[in-house]
Assembly symmetry: D2
Homo-oligomer: 128 residues x 4
């Protein structure tokens, strides 16, 4: 059930339901990237960070589900003090489902090697 | 003219041109919020920060124009060492135009006082 | 045992062991604040986020222990889509121990209400 | 002249003047790294970003001067929409002077190639 803040928010939008869902998907992927890139990372904390990114994303409006995988191939176990890296966008593999009204948008972010770029894209639009 | 990375990117999307433009708008607003919230702020650096946020946004794909205004009402001039604040989402007023193909999406972020929330929303969708 | 990257790092420093430990403490507190301020937050994800901040901090050099508590008094359980907040510095209570050589520095960050400011400070310096 | 918030802050510290200055230096370098890593970057906005990082740092307590240089060797001018990178720690070259009481601490952050790591370190401690 919509509460009054949702009704107020809706009154600001001048677009279709699907466009709104696509917009909300973009917000969440942009948020994940720019909030968490830079976090210190090693084998020991990678799954904790994945869970925190997922949990922080689910808190945001219209997120039906989200899955975050961080590429472990560049990670090391601790030997010396400086054996860790910083999270980069290239390491992120995110799958997100936004549900707004009767629409589901599936969006993802992952490294597209051909572009050497962590692409955010829409995989499908479904009308429930 | 599209280059080959753009063609590759396009091949990942399964949605309409307008939905793509709406998605790209969401990415940029989510990025601004989560990248820059927390920056130390005082009267002396507020316009420099506005320019840097705008310039960083224009670098991203399909941004036709962007304007960033930071609410100065909470800022102080320096007297003591601790006279500054951190940028919060409530202080941001952003107006963004995304152009993708023949579509323009105008999107904004600003504090909606009735919601006590910095809302990101789509103001208009235009077909050129 | 020190590895070669640690020896290289040490060769760059022109200060005492205690000053180095104090510097390392400052880095970690500045990192926590500016990395995580802005994360979307609700009762459901607050403990997951605390754990991720702690785990990300432990990965960094010379951190012996760290404890992160986020003030829950401003958090809500989900009813509407917009019922969440963004993490601010005022909500953070961090206690950190840096061990470098024979020195322990205990440092903290927490809201000092008298200053209306989330202060980072050194609580004690110990020579082991 | 110290104001009352500075006096309150000072009352929390249990360390020497030099240790305090070293701690303050660490905070600022940790802040720069974790606030700005991830910003979209191209030749067109690099100098604007350098200025904003410097200006945001000067706002913080006890910063006497700061200089930020971003490595331009990895940057491109815009041709296609995806021709930009994200700021990484490896690209940052920061020189900072903290003045606290009668002490000056010079600290830096820059890529140490031998370590493949953006090291933050103290270059000198001076008693005025």
């Amino acid at each position: 059930m919509r509460d009054s803040r949702e009704a107020t928010a809706d009154s600001y939008f001048a677009c279709s339901e699907v466009e709104r869902a696509a917009f909300e998907a973009g917000i969440k992927l942009g948020s994940i990237y720019h909030q968490f890139v830079g976090v210190p990372l090693r084998s020991e904390n990678v799954s904790t960070l994945e869970k925190a990114i997922e949990a922080g994303c689910k808190v945001q409006p219209f997120v039906e589900s989200v899955s975050v995988k961080i590429d472990r191939s560049k990670l090391k176990r601790k030997r010396g003090q400086y054996d860790y890296v910083s999270l980069t966008g290239d390491m992120l593999d995110v799958a997100l489902v936004i549900r707004y009204g009767g629409t589901r948008v599936r969006a993802s972010m992952r490294l597209v090697e051909e572009m050497n770029y962590p692409l955010m894209y829409i995989e499908s639009v479904e009308h429930a």
